[in-house]
Symmetry: C2
Subunit: 406 residues, 2 copies
Amino acid sequence: MSWPRNTPEPEVTPEQRVEWQQRFGESDRALGFEISKDFKPFAQINDMFTRAFWDPAIKSADSDGFFASYRMGSEPRRGQGFSQKDFALRNASWVISDIISNRGNDTGMREGFQSWIAEDTPVAPTQVEVPDAAAQTAEIKRIAKMFGADLVGVTEVDERWHYSSRVDTRDLTQADNTLPAGITHVIVMAHAMDFDLVETYPSALAGASTGREYSHEAAIVIQVATYIRNLGYQAVASMNDTALVIPYAIKAGLGEYGRNQMVLTPEFGPRVRFSKIFTSLPLVNDQPKPLGMTTYCHSCTKCADACPPKALPKGPPEYGADSPSTIKGVKKWSANCEKCFGYWAKLKTDCAICMRVCPFNRTYDSWSDRVWRKLATGRGRKLAQWWENRNGSRERLKPADWWAKP
Amino acid sequence: MSWPRNTPEPEVTPEQRVEWQQRFGESDRALGFEISKDFKPFAQINDMFTRAFWDPAIKSADSDGFFASYRMGSEPRRGQGFSQKDFALRNASWVISDIISNRGNDTGMREGFQSWIAEDTPVAPTQVEVPDAAAQTAEIKRIAKMFGADLVGVTEVDERWHYSSRVDTRDLTQADNTLPAGITHVIVMAHAMDFDLVETYPSALAGASTGREYSHEAAIVIQVATYIRNLGYQAVASMNDTALVIPYAIKAGLGEYGRNQMVLTPEFGPRVRFSKIFTSLPLVNDQPKPLGMTTYCHSCTKCADACPPKALPKGPPEYGADSPSTIKGVKKWSANCEKCFGYWAKLKTDCAICMRVCPFNRTYDSWSDRVWRKLATGRGRKLAQWWENRNGSRERLKPADWWAKP
């Protein structure tokens, strides 16, 4: 089932709002989610990467060049961090993700981005018994880590965050985004990006940290979902497709929302990517507790200060959403996506300066990082800010210095 | 170009032998390779996994069930280590490798097994300059490790170890196995298998350690080869296809040959899998030096003693090769492949008891492991053997105990 891209979103019915309030009101309050009467699920046709193909306000020679550069097709050669070698490494890092996402070209399913990942194995006809959902939850987290996930959480299905439609990439129409029946839980996995590569943002070289994790997560979600299907339960492997992962990651207890529009995790700060699996496997949901990181963001504007196109807000969270690419009716820090992506298009690569300069972007390998986190997320917040500021601005690692490392 | 599977191998000409002697004689001596006048390159049609599809001496209900079990198709349910859950995990671990190897079904190219991995990216038209091959070698090793390789070595192309023909999997005929022009070097990568899973051999569960590394190596060889192609040089990603990796791993200095027919590495003992990339990138070959591990094998028969079908030799290396699946004219320890694979087929999974019980199979995380290695590979060999034997036989980790781990 598909329909034109300009089809307006169906209105949310009052009955639907009441039901959502009953099901999610309490956990929303616990998580600090503030959702207004204007809330509407997001249509994927309006995300920046999709608009760059159909919206004349976004599509440009720069945006076309941005996408072409991922096929070594528009190599800007603008010096350090943007040479053929830098693009060569970035594009190589993406290739496993590319193999998966290109499989469904003929059917308009860009797996992992504009469609969930197609099943590689049928659901086994015999179901393994699950007498203890808590033990099953511990086991699936262990298996996900064995396959390479860095963090794993479990939460309930919450269809408010599912795209109201997906995108058929053949003609950029909207297409049905209904998951198979019986899905009850979402397994959310975090994949840590390489610290040193991230230190070189902005550069094509730094984009290798992004592509490497997309390739990792493609492999890991497929392996974990296949394991669950082999046990006789439904499991749908998902990357950026199907639903917004940020609310799911927060609901699964993996982190808190930050000013830079990223989920801040205690283990890696914002230096992670997320993937997810929708499943019917009996599991127990994680119970998130406050982590103290969003509170820090309220009195820190380092990400917004460092953003070259000034795309990040310096004020408090707002409902304001004057862009079709921002979800309606959710009070939060929202980037100006047009400015943000416009800068990416000029660079011909992704930018994550706002990830690099975030005070929570640390390896936490050192004693001092861990003390800082303890202070920053509790009563010592101001001391932590003084300490962070005392070290001055975080310098970018020069791409040439990254290449020169042993 | 393809020809029937029963086509005899072309004879090696005297001129070819002289050329090989001139090119490789010295390094063969340094490595301890002993090669007779009967030597012939190996035809892949004769490997056990291929013979299981065409040779009535090998193909059986058991071997058919072995392959079917990898699609959850013949689940034996023979208790601990062989339950649905064990097969579910093993098969999930293989799935990325399966996705790659199934891509070429229509053209008879089982990528990674009976054909090299097809290019996902063209060779860039502009070549990055390589002014310093030694620096380029260090860089490519670093990049391979960034993508997840555990060990990396470089050696020269040595066509003696290339399959004289590959297998067209549509009709099991022989097919041309000639690499693209200009290949000068082989990058050999080792991928360490999970220690705890290997401790459960024999079991379907243990097979997850094999599948996980095949999936890892598929991703890693493709990423590294794509990087090299993006630099403007030829690179062909390869797993078990195209050439025997054991002599290449030894030539690249990654380890020594063991009685269990595996390459023993100082870092992981035999607990590794190998992949390779054939490339025209200017590189410097590694210079292997004696590691003392093969010497240990001469006075140790733990692998042979532990082999249920008695497939491993207890005597010295021999030229004897009465099986079509054993390469002719190479003096070495050779398994009876028919007995070995017959046992796998009965188990419906791979067996690597000979890897598990090898005294070199250690994590080397502990001080005592490292002291043992120092002794075992030097003048303290007898003391190391006494020490190893004093600890008694290595007990298999029960699959139920693996599953019960936190």
